[in-house]
Symmetry: C2
Subunit: 301 residues, 2 copies
């Protein structure tokens, strides 16, 4: 089933306690689509400046990402983010953000993009997310990500958006911020009341939780000691999850549970190296193999 | 199989953001044995002062806890702890600690206690834990808990202890402190190198991890919004786990996995009310029922 994503396409500069990288390929839509394309074709909506190297676009195309929706703005620069991870590899500081072309992005979707059935609104302003959603003719499943910035700065647009999506993905601190609720279970239920049919709360190294009217589902992260760079973990989680749903062509409770497991495992590979480095050599077979270990690990009598 | 526990027996005064209790029954050995006795007979080793009410001892006896090892010291006072939970219900401040009789405790085990096959050394100084262990003739499975205080103040005794136990249970911050390692997976492996055959790291609302030479096992907490008082959660986790092992009469990998699940669920009931309030009415059938929901929640295709 066709999968559309809108989000940031960026240069990232990343410092971790052991190494750093300058101006590598990044952004929410990049990490999402590069992961999701392991499962199903992905149409990317994004914007870059004239400084964006053609090789980066090619990298996406070669993975099976449709980049016709990637607008290139002449005379302008690409979104830039620079961040630094603390020794726990979970908390990070943003050292620099230059929105550049992403700040004024007014997307116009190619005609065939408008027929997409699955839509992922990766992290970006809710106004941008709504603009894209408005152009999709008959979406079957819309899932949105968000972040603290939008919860604080554009709460009304975000609440409008939440009434128009089936699913929302956010991390634990964002869920607490959005609901003013310290208990994550209560936070999850409160977000359900805002509109979505299901809510996924990501807890980083502690896994993820799924809330729906029928059930709660909790899944730990895949235990790994090879955390080199957590950047893009959340987006590749969403990419693996939505990619799995696109491939399955359905989104019942059982399929969503498996999709979350695949998202978890996709993210566990993503963090093993900087940028897209580990993902370049990742195959669907690698994911299936880790899925089997994970299932075995979780099984008890 | 007979199960022995040594640890604190205490008066607790607890403040949470919504309610508080003064001088309720508490302590690591109390929470442990009251939970474990749902599964198997427990022999308690501890000490109290003359201020300890007879009803508290009766409460334990009626549950099937053998209290002949609970020494009463005339003219002295019982261990007292006062703490306050922050709004997240995870972090807490200690407002007052009076070790009293527990500070000078020099246990002498009743003769039949020395034949115990399963031993749990609940939180207490490693010197005390070693003193008890020295008196057990032929223990089959010894598991120890510890805390930041002993890691900092008695590291040598603790390392000696770790070489004499099969299992150790500690929380995530303690595992990091003991190993000087921020990544919990690496921390778990490093603790294995200190002696134990298995290491259980408790992560509170984020569940627990099991490390052994053969495998890692991760289990989320049972999702609950009814957290009234987290005091005793770790001890009742250990009680449910060791009780299950005592009942099963074996401690292979599969049994330990199930034991951790039962520990997780025991703790999920413990936190639903202050002190032993929720545990008083808890039955083995309640645990089995929650175990089935938990297993269903964790199952994926």
């Amino acid at each position: 089933m066709s999968l559309l994503v809108v989000g940031s396409v960026a240069f990232d500069s990343i410092e971790t306690p052991v190494a750093s990288r300058e101006h590598v390929i990044g952004g929410s839509a990049v990490h999402f689509s590069y992961a999701a394309a392991l499962f199903a074709p992905v149409k990317l909506v994004g914007v870059v400046g004239e400084d964006w190297p053609n090789e980066f676009t090619q990298l996406l195309s070669e993975r099976g990402v449709d980049t016709r929706g990637l607008e290139v703005v002449e005379g302008k620069k690409t979104f830039y983010w620079k961040g630094k991870y603390l020794p726990n590899m979970n908390d990070r500081e943003t050292l620099d953000v230059q929105l550049n072309v992403f700040g004024e992005f007014d997307p116009v979707l190619p005609e065939d993009y408008r027929q997409s059935r699955l839509v992922f609104l990766a992290n970006g302003s809710p106004h941008l997310q709504l603009k894209v959603l408005d152009q999709v003719a008959d979406p079957q499943l819309v899932v949105a990500d968000t972040m603290d910035l939008w919860i604080q700065q554009e709460p009304e647009a975000l609440l409008r958006l939440l009434q128009r999506v089936q699913g929302v993905v956010l991390n634990d601190s964002e869920a607490k911020l959005l609901t003013q609720e310290e208990n994550l279970i209560r936070a999850g239920h409160k977000i359900l009341e805002l509109g979505p049919d299901f809510v996924i709360i990501k807890k980083g190294e502690h896994g993820a939780m799924l809330f729906s009217a029928e059930a709660i589902y909790v899944l730990p992260a895949f235990p790994t000691c090879d955390v080199v760079d957590p950047t893009g973990a959340g987006d590749s989680f969403a990419g693996g999850m939505m990619g799995f749903l696109a491939e399955a062509g359905k989104a019942d409770a059982t399929t969503i549970k498996s999709a979350i497991a695949y998202g978890t495992l996709t993210a566990s590979f993503q963090v093993e190296d900087f940028s897209l480095e580990r993902m370049k050599s990742l195959t669907r077979a690698d994911l299936d193999q880790r899925f089997e270990s994970f299932r075995e690990m979780m099984r008890f009598e």
